[in-house]
C-alpha cells in the first residue's frame, strides 16, 4: 500500500495539450474517483499513473518514488480495464496466474494467491472456464481477481462497470466497496457516471477539459460545487443555473426575458453584479404565491413514484432560464404556474465570467 502523488502533471500529443497541470495527493489506502464527461482526460491521467501513457510534464510518484520513467510492470500497480481485457484463450485460473508466473513466483505461492482471490470474489467454481463462458459480471470479477492476486500497492480502475447492466452495476458497486474495506489498498477509479463517483469515492476529482475542477469528498463537492461545471455535472437533474444581475440592494436577480427571482436573504455587497444563481432541484419547495421567490411556467411533469420532477421556464413566453424542481408527494400547480422558494443555505452564486463559485460569507 502506498500514497500516490500527482504533481502538476501535463500531457500533450504533439502540440495539443490535453491535460493542463493536475495535482493531487492520494493518501495511503484512500479510494479516489476521477469523474468527468468523456474526453475530459480522466482516462489519460489514469493511464499515465499506470505507465501506459508517457508523462509530458510534472511528476507522478507512487510510495514516494517518482515513476515517470518506469515501465508499468515496475510500478507495482494493477489495473482493471473497461473491456476487462481477459486473455480469451486462457482459463480463469491462468488469467489470474499469468502476471505472477511472469514475475517468477513459486508455484505454491501462485496457487495460494489465486485460490484466495477466487474465494473472495466467489470464482472458485469457475476457475477452469474460459472467459467467453462467463457472464458479464463474472468476467468483471475475474478482471478484479487478476488485479488482486498481484497484491499491488495501487489498484487502478478504468470505467470497469460501464459494460454492465444497471442492476449488476449497483451490485458490483457494493462488492467493490466491500473489497476495498477488506483489502485497504489505495485505489484510483475512473468513471463518467456521477452516481458511481458519489457512492464509491472517499474523495473525488471532477475533471473538465484537462483541468481538475474540484477535488474533495463527495458531499463537499455536492454541497459546495467550485464551478458551474461541477454544479451541472454532479447531481441529477443538474443544478438550476439562472443567469442575471443582482438589483434592488441585492434582493432580486433580474434574469433573462424579464424574469425576477427573489433572494431568500438580500446580498447588498453584490448589488449590480452579473452572476449565476444556482439552486438544486431537490432544494426547491412549493409555497404560496405570496412567499414565492420564483414562479416558473410548467412545461411538463415526470412522476417517479416517490418524487415528482417538474420542468419549467422562467420569464415571459417561456423565454427565460429553464428550471427543474424535485418535489415530494403531490404538488399544487395552478394555471400552469408553480410558486417555489428555497432557503439561504441552499443558494449558490457563480461568477458570470469565470463560472467560479462566489463565497457568500
Amino acid at each position: 500500500m502506498a500514497k500516490v502523488e500527482l504533481r502538476n502533471v501535463y500531457k500533450s500529443y504533439g502540440t495539443t495539450e490535453i491535460i493542463h497541470g493536475v495535482s493531487m495527493d492520494i493518501a495511503d489506502g484512500e479510494f479516489v474517483v476521477m469523474v468527468g464527461p468523456s474526453g475530459c482526460g480522466k482516462s489519460t491521467l489514469l493511464r499515465m499513473i499506470a505507465g501506459l501513457e508517457e508523462i509530458s510534464g510534472g511528476d507522478i510518484a507512487i510510495d514516494g518514488r517518482v515513476v515517470n520513467n518506469l515501465e508499468p510492470k515496475d510500478r507495482d500497480i494493477a489495473m482493471v480495464f473497461q473491456q476487462y481485457a481477459l486473455y480469451p484463450h486462457m482459463s480463469v485460473h491462468d488469467n489470474m496466474a499469468y502476471g505472477l508466473k511472469i514475475r517468477g513466483l513459486p508455484k505454491a505461492e501462485i496457487e495460494t494467491r489465486v485460490q484466495r482471490a477466487a474465494e473472495i470474489l466467489e470464482l472458485s467454481k469457475l476457475l477452469g472456464r474460459r472467459p467467453r463462458e462467463l457472464s458479464g459480471g463474472q468476467r468483471q470479477r475475474v478482471a478484479m481477481g487478476r488485479a488482486i492476486v498481484r497484491e499491488p500497492k495501487v489498484f487502478l480502475f478504468d470505467e470497469p462497470l460501464s459494460n454492465l447492466d444497471a442492476k449488476l452495476r449497483v451490485q458490483m458497486r457494493a462488492e467493490l466497496q466491500a473489497l476495498h474495506k477488506r483489502l485497504g489498498t489505495t485505489t484510483v477509479f475512473v468513471t463518467h457516471d456521477q452516481v458511481e463517483a458519489m457512492t464509491l469515492a472517499q474523495r473525488m476529482m471532477v475533471m473538465n477539459a484537462g483541468h481538475a475542477e474540484q477535488i474533495g469528498a463527495p458531499l463537499e463537492v455536492y454541497g459546495r460545487p467550485a464551478s458551474t461545471f461541477v454544479a451541472g455535472f454532479i447531481g441529477s437533474p443538474p443544478m438550476n443555473l439562472i443567469p442575471g444581475t443582482l438589483a434592488e440592494g441585492g434582493a432580486v436577480l433580474l434574469a433573462d426575458a424579464g424574469a425576477r427571482v427573489g433572494l431568500p436573504a438580500a446580498l447588498p455587497k453584490f448589488d449590480g453584479r452579473k452572476l449565476l444563481l444556482g439552486v438544486r432541484p431537490e432544494h426547491l419547495e412549493p409555497c404560496d404565491e405570496a412567499a414565492a421567490l420564483l414562479v416558473p411556467d410548467v412545461d411538463f411533469i415526470e412522476l417517479l413514484g416517490s418524487d415528482v420532477l417538474v420542468y419549467g421556464h422562467l420569464g415571459a413566453d417561456r423565454k427565460g432560464a429553464r428550471v427543474a424542481a424535485r418535489l415530494h408527494g403531490s404538488m399544487a400547480a395552478s394555471d400552469g404556474h408553480l410558486a417555489l422558494r428555497f432557503t439561504p443555505k441552499h443558494m449558490h452564486l457563480f461568477d458570470a465570467e469565470t463560472g467560479k463559485r462566489i463565497e457568500i460569507e
Binding site: 505507465g51 510492470k73 480495464f81 486473455y87 502476471g99 511472469i102
Partner: protein
C-alpha cells in the same frame, strides 16, 4: 427457400448433378486409367470401369518411374513435393507473422517504408521475373537444392496483410493488460498473439500447402536433376511424345498420387480451406 416449387427444386438438383459429373469426370477417368494396362487404355474407346492393374501400376511408378519417359521414381518426387508443401507454408507463416507483429505493435523509423516494400511485392509474381530470379538462384548456387526450390516462394505480402489485419482486431487493452502483467513484446507474442492466431494460421497453412505442392514453373526452372523433381514436374517429364507413345496408365497413376495429398487437405480441412481462401482475398 421462400416458396415451394418442386420443378425448380428438380432443376436445381439436375444442374448440380450435371455440374458435379462434369467436374468429377476427368478425376474418375484418371483413376480408372491408373488401374488399367497400357493395352487396355490404347483400345478405343478405353474401358470406363477400373481394371486389375492397380497395384502393379502404382508399385511401378513409386519405385521406378516410367520406361519410355522419365525414369525417376515417384516415391522421391512425393518426398520433394512434401518438402515444398510444408516448407513454403511454414516459412511463409513464420516470417509473415513476425513482420506483421513488428509493423503493428512497434513504432520505428522506416516502418512505413518497410510496409510498402512488402506491399509492392504483390505486383511482382514469379512469372514476370522468371529469368532474373533464375539468375539470382544460379548465382547463389541454389539450383537443384531445397533452399532454391522454397526460399523465393516464402516471401508473401498477402500473408503479412492477413496477419496485420487480424492483429488489428486484437483489442488494445489485451496488450496493455499483458504489459501490466509484466510481459515484454516477445512474451506477449508467444503467450497471447500466437495462440489467438491459430485459426488464421490454420487457414493460411491449408491454402499454402496446396500452393506449395502444386508449384510448377518455379521447380521447372531450378531443378534439372531427377532427384530434385517434384511430382508435378515428374508427370510432365513422363510425357514424351504424341498420344500413343506414352505409358498413360503410369502417368495417370502418378497424377492420382499428385492430386491426393492436396485433395485430402481440401476435403478434410474444408472449413479452414474456405476461410483461408475467402480471407486471403479480402
Amino acid at each position: 427457400m421462400v416458396e415451394h416449387r418442386p420443378l425448380l427444386k428438380f432443376v436445381s438438383h439436375a444442374v448440380l448433378i450435371l455440374g458435379a459429373i462434369i467436374v468429377a469426370f476427368p478425376l474418375y477417368v484418371t483413376f480408372v486409367a491408373s488401374t488399367l494396362s497400357l493395352e487396355e487404355i490404347l483400345t478405343v474407346p478405353m474401358p470406363l470401369l477400373p481394371g486389375n492393374r492397380f497395384f502393379e501400376n502404382y508399385a511401378q511408378v513409386l519405385t521406378a518411374g516410367t520406361t519410355t519417359g522419365s525414369h525417376a521414381a515417384v516415391g522421391s518426387m512425393l518426398f520433394n513435393s512434401m518438402v515444398m508443401a510444408l516448407v513454403v507454408p511454414l516459412g511463409k507463416i513464420s516470417i509473415s507473422i513476425i513482420s506483421a507483429f513488428a509493423i503493428v505493435y512497434f513504432r520505428f523509423p522506416m516502418r512505413n517504408f518497410f510496409f510498402w516494400m512488402i506491399f509492392v511485392t504483390l505486383m511482382l509474381p514469379v512469372e514476370v521475373r522468371i529469368i532474373p530470379t533464375f539468375k539470382v538462384i544460379a548465382d547463389l548456387g541454389l539450383l537443384n537444392t531445397y533452399a532454391g526450390l522454397t526460399l523465393p516462394l516464402i516471401a508473401s505480402a498477402t500473408a503479412t496483410f492477413l496477419f496485420r489485419q487480424f492483429f488489428m482486431t486484437i483489442p488494445d487493452e489485451l496488450a496493455e493488460a499483458a504489459r501490466m502483467d509484466g510481459a515484454g513484446p516477445m512474451r506477449f507474442f508467444f503467450d497471447v498473439v500466437l495462440p489467438l492466431s491459430k485459426t488464421t494460421m490454420a487457414a493460411l497453412f491449408v491454402i499454402q500447402f496446396i500452393y506449395g505442392w502444386n508449384q510448377y514453373l518455379w521447380p521447372l526452372l531450378v531443378t534439372s536433376e531427377e532427384s530434385m523433381y517434384t511430382t508435378v514436374i515428374g508427370i510432365k517429364r513422363m510425357i514424351v511424345g504424341s498420344d500413343a507413345a506414352n505409358e498413360w496408365n503410369l502417368v495417370m497413376a502418378t497424377a492420382v498420387l499428385a492430386m491426393l495429398p492436396p485433395a485430402l487437405v481440401v476435403v478434410l480441412m474444408q472449413r479452414w480451406f474456405v476461410k483461408g481462401l475467402v480471407d486471403t482475398e479480402k
